[in-house]
Amino acid sequence: MIAEPDGPEGRLRRLTTIWSRAVFPVTSTSLTRPEFEELLLPLARRLRSALRDRVFDAREGEAVGAALVDAHCTAPEALSHSLDCLDAYLVLYCGEDGDQEDLRARSARLQHSMAAGFARALRERTLAEQEAIAQAALRAQGVVAQALHASEARFRAVFEGAAIGIAIADLQGNVLQVNSALLRMFGGAEQTVRGRGVREWTHADDPPHLCRLYEELVRGEREHYHVEKAFYRPDGTVLWTNLTVSLLRDADGCPQYQLALMEDTTERRLLNLRLRYEATHDALTGLPNRTLFFERLEKALNAGEGQRFGLCYLDLDGFKTINDSLGHAAGDRLLVEVADRLQACATAPGEMVARLGGDEFVALTTGPGTREEVDELAARITNALVAPVRIDGRELAVRGSIGIVEGPAGERSAAEVLRSADITMYRAKSAGGNRFELADPEADARAITRHGLTTALPTALDRGEFFIEYQPLVRLGDGSVRGAEALVRWLHPQHGVLGPDRFIPLAEHTGLIVPLGRWVLEQSVRQAGRWRELHGDGTEGPLRINVNLSPCQLTHPGLVQDTVDILERTGVRPDALCLEVTESALIGADDDLLKPLRRLAEMGIDIALDDFGTGYSNLANLRRLPVSVLKLDRSFTQGMQQFPADPVDLKIVEGIVTLAHSLDLAVTVEGVETGAQAEQLRLLGCDTAQGWYYARPGPPDRLHDLALADATG
């Protein structure tokens, strides 16, 4: 509609433009300015009509006021600016030629009704919007509550369905909530758990730092802690758990609750304990085993200043015989009975009994006073074994050998202590058994060396660590060298030169004596062969070589053949060899044993009875033996070292010599150290002698020199 600028429509437009300009800045509309003006135009037209209608209708003004609110002119300024504008321009632009007084009155009434309409519409809109947003808030609350409920229901299901026990307590320690898994762990009764204080849940086995951990947590200084903890169940049994306690904080970070998660480890723990028990105890006797014993011994040895230990190492005497004769079942029952008796001997704190294996037991006592205690312990053990053990209606006497070791902590290792005890026990055993012996460092050292030598013997022969020294045998009648005794030596890499007394018994024990003896025999016979080349057979016969035979060699079936082979290989005549056998080796010898000796004697080899007079000298037996020489033990010659000589010794030696000669046996004496001795022995009729008076054992060329000197001198 194109309006004439000064026509009624143009004037209405002008009013609308002014109105729009006054109100637009305070509206919240998203309309543009021209759009807004278009929106106001019909309102202005209604106002113009209301101004000029014959009958005044206040509802028109109210409608326009409400329309403003609908156009989002909700600010108070929208109304006041509108009224200001209409007051100034409505009559001016729309009054035309009406009565000014009436028009102004109408305009005022229109403004009043507009204000009322605006206010009513605004109130209604405000109330509606308030209602709408409140409803929205309410619905939102419902939605959120439902979401939370669903989420909480899930959490509740987790809480209740969890396999681990869950408890929530406040910071004062009051238990607020527990789940059913936790109730089951505690035996089911809810009132025994809920409502109780966390501090009531202490147990004697609680770790000492638990209290500190708890205090730190509730003070908010610690977020969580993890311990292995025991609880008493209402029925008095013990519940073991892996317990994790965490601190729960509120949104602002303030500590609020403590959350405990616990896993029942009772079964696992029992299983572990049983496995541990089985690993540390002997299945037969139920006593602690070697493992546990070593643990305790280590602990005792590391106990620190002032602490000591005492140890009784018991080995039953003759247990093997019982096992062999009565069977293993009987042997086992004997061990069980012994174990029970031993157990009763060591009941004080710090004492224990263990079975190390077989018939070996050990009793340990620890503390500062073991010096006295260990003796008492050994005495108790000995007493405990006095009463015979009744098995299958038999009374079995129990005998045992005990090695005792006692000492301060911190000096020796467990292995060293046990070895010492073992050595000491064997000393008790070799002293006849059924007794106890105290450990002695020197005896230990000897035994330890013996052990070392025994293990080193086999390689020593291969490595050529043995050598032979020769001690001359001198004819007393003219002092001429008639031969030599071969004496084996061991040049040990650590211990230096060792005499036969140090290693021959070991070689006997291990059987190495056979190859070693063969080696000695061969070396010595070779040496005799070389002497013969040097000196010829001489008028008095060849230089002879004396070689010792050990009891073991005597029984070895290859003795005769080996000897023959050696003589043949070296080309030495049998009468240049004398084999020395100890008297004790032939005691009670039967014909089987003597047969090889006879064969050797028949071949022309001399057999000498060594150490004669030390054993049970069965003179009657002498006739049976294929012996041609008696070697008198050095104990007889010792009595002649002083002057005047012991007359009893003189008589004995004289008697033996007479007896020997009457049996057609030559007599050799050992240990001659002085000229007086030598003279005495010569007067008594002895044939040959050896000893330091003539020469110490030495290398073969020394003998060569002696023999040479003898021949020329």
């Binding site: 800045p25 509206t27 919240s28 509309t29 998203s30 309309l31 543009t32 300015r33 021209p34 989002h72 909700t74 600010a75 809109r125 405000t126 919007e129 308030q130 709408a132 947003i133 409803q135 929205a136 808030a137 619905r139 939102a140 609350q141 939605v143 959120v144 509550a145 979401a147 939370l148 989420s151 899930r154 959490f155 987790v158």
Partner: protein, 270 residues
Amino acid sequence: MERPAWAPRSIDISVPSVARIYDFYLGGSHNFEADREAARRAMEFMPGLPGISRANRAFMRRAVEFAAEEGITQFLDIGSGIPAFGNVHEVAQAARPGARVLYVDHDPVAVSHSKAVLAGNADADVVAADLRKPQEILASPELGRLIDLNRPVALLLVAILHFVEDADDPCGAVAELRDALAPGSLLVLTHASYEGIPLPEKRSRSLVDVYENIRNPLIMRSREEIARFFEGYDMVEPGLVPMPNWRPRTAPEDEDPYAFSGFAGVGRTA
């Protein structure tokens, strides 16, 4: 079993909501006293806040109409708040009948109210989700029903990014949304800034403190920082400008001086 990002522990109307505060700036009564109290405090420092809000709405309307002219028929309005007159669906559906609009807000009250307002409108819906978790938006059934991501979408981030702190990686969220959109999609964005506010910066800072106090920090960003949100977009003329200067219909000189606070822009994905 994580609580959805949008679901608060409870609805507490004594805690101000930026959506309802905004409604108050626009003369609405969809608000509670706590909201009005916060709004009044904010307006003490910056009386022009209603003017800024109106400028936002005016820009949004022009941008939606622009998008409709460009042929876009799908609109995703994140941070839509309390629906008021001249909403996106009204503008879009007026310009293009059948245009589809999905509103997103994390304020459960705003969402609930939007649902009531949109009841019966088959082409518009609202989803409770958070801009900071774009996947929640993109995977929502409402989006699946209304928006075809294979066709261009107008993404509206009007007056929302200044409520996302850098720690929550707003750039990452915007980029994630961009990557989900088909070529030819538009990003419609406004953002608060100290630039353009006809007040000393000190007073603007006091406004920031008000939002800080209601635990809804207002992050003022520079033009340069705001421009970064358009990474991967070609700016539509006239670029990133004060709101009244973006394709004005009337002389910008007539605008409220506060309307020039902050920046507005539209970008198009290649």
